[in-house]
Symmetry: C2
DNA sequence: GTGTAAGCTTGATCCAGGTCAACCGAAATG
DNA sequence: CATTTCGGTTGACCTGGATCAAGCTTACAC
């Protein structure tokens, strides 16, 4: 449901350090830049960093000074209530950005955790702001990225506010599939990086409900599930689930 | 729960047309600007517009070219699913911005409807972008506003994903109260501009459940309700509702 | 390898909130 | 002023998903 990016294929060949050579650049920030502008962009990224599965990229409350572009890997962001309740606010994959929520208060307002070994680029926010004062295209693209995040969140609100359990899971699978496709991976077959509990938290359901819905979808022939391995057999079946009433 | 602004009091005296004289300016966009910068800001606003209760400011799908600052009045934004289901994504009051979601696709992605007679300023987005390339403070403030919207949405996701009916309504009332306070109105007494059904849609509940929760709060002495008129009698009572488990 | 823990599935039961329905009050309309 | 309509309240009942519980599978530690 909430689209996060929609660009074509990526060959995962050579990886150099420069932004101007980053094959994820279409997905992260700039495109349509001149050669000169592309070169100046390389100043933008200060650090690359690898994270092991389970490691935090940042934690709620930490001072904010950079946003992060995911080069490879998979993340979740979550918010914790004082009483221990957790809400997963999103799952992010290669080519997507993390940390936009921190701009408002200059502190991060959620936790970002790697769900598999990952690699990120840190983009110091003040540098991004000054560069985007000079490069119109960059500025505009950044605003679009922030706005897209707002639209995505509205999609999640719709999902949590009006959909029933199976619709939510169908929407979730279709969204993942669509994002994998945009990155040149199979749209029909993928490994989930998150647990049933994390999916449940994101969708406002308990893990048992998620598990039951997976089984139901399998019985109906929409998907084949084996633990974290998912194969989508009938996209239209899943889509149909979402459309006619509840 | 999701804070939308936190600034001090406002005297609702003289209203002139210029942005530089707008007494809502702290809440909308710029502050900390030089006199010179303030004057240039007046170029930003192209149109003022009055809307009657029930009128749409914009509709989903319409081309986006401006964001809107609310001078007075009260709005809701909502998204409609093909099958007729509605999700209210937010309520906005004087001093808040509307339309940020439209930047991403250059089309509005939700409807904005006045819930009472209202007045807005249209801020052409391209002009905002070019001015914020020149005025650092404006740029930074705008980014904070967008980011705050994302944080607010995460708060709503938390609410929809993890809270039970009464917690949701308590959070909603406390949030409204806090925002009225920030605008110099009474924090303890106000009129709701929206129906029970709209509150329910926002909170992921049915109108009957909202109504019952209001009655329950009244029985317990936390509030006094009479239709749309609300008096908060025990803020701590409401806060307590939210904290200990569900 | 073997043991253990973490994650997943499935069944049985329960309850918060949805659904359906009746009624009431306020405010808009003629 | 009478009438209709819209929004709100309250009750009775029902159900989707939560909760509790048991067993299974996979992956990791030793």
């Amino acid at each position: 449901m909430p689209p996060q990016s929609a660009t074509s294929t990526i060959s995962l060949s050579v990886i150099k350090t420069a932004c101007s050579n980053c094959n994820l650049r279409e997905l992260c920030l700039p495109f349509g830049l001149s050669l000169d502008e592309l070169e100046r962009l390389d100043d933008l990224v200060s650090t690359r960093r690898r994270l092991k599965r389970g490691e935090h990229l940042y934690r709620s409350g930490m001072p904010f000074d950079a946003i992060y572009a995911i080069r490879s890997g998979f993340f979740k962001t979550d918010v914790l209530l004082e009483d221990g309740r957790e809400q997963v606010t999103g799952f992010q994959m290669a080519g997507e950005l993390l940390g936009l929520d921190g701009i408002s208060s200059e502190h991060h307002t959620c936790n970002a955790v790697a769900l598999e070994d990952s690699e990120i680029c840190a983009i110091p926010f003040s540098r991004l702001e000054s560069l985007s004062r000079e490069i119109h295209t960059l500025q505009h693209h950044f605003h679009k990225v922030m706005s897209r995040e707002i639209v995505r969140d509205h999609g999640v609100m719709m999902l949590l506010g009006t959909m029933r359990a199976e619709e939510r899971l169908a929407a979730f699978l279709l969204n993942l599939s669509q994002r994998f496709t945009a990155r040149g991976f199979s749209h029909a077959e993928f490994y989930l990086r998150m647990t049933r509990e994390e999916i449940g938290s994101y969708l406002g359901l308990k893990l048992e409900t998620v598990s039951r819905a997976f089984s139901k979808f399998q019985e109906e022939g929409f998907i084949a599930v084996q633990q974290k391995h998912i194969r989508i057999l009938d996209v239209n079946g899943l889509k149909a689930l979402m459309n006619h009433r509840a």
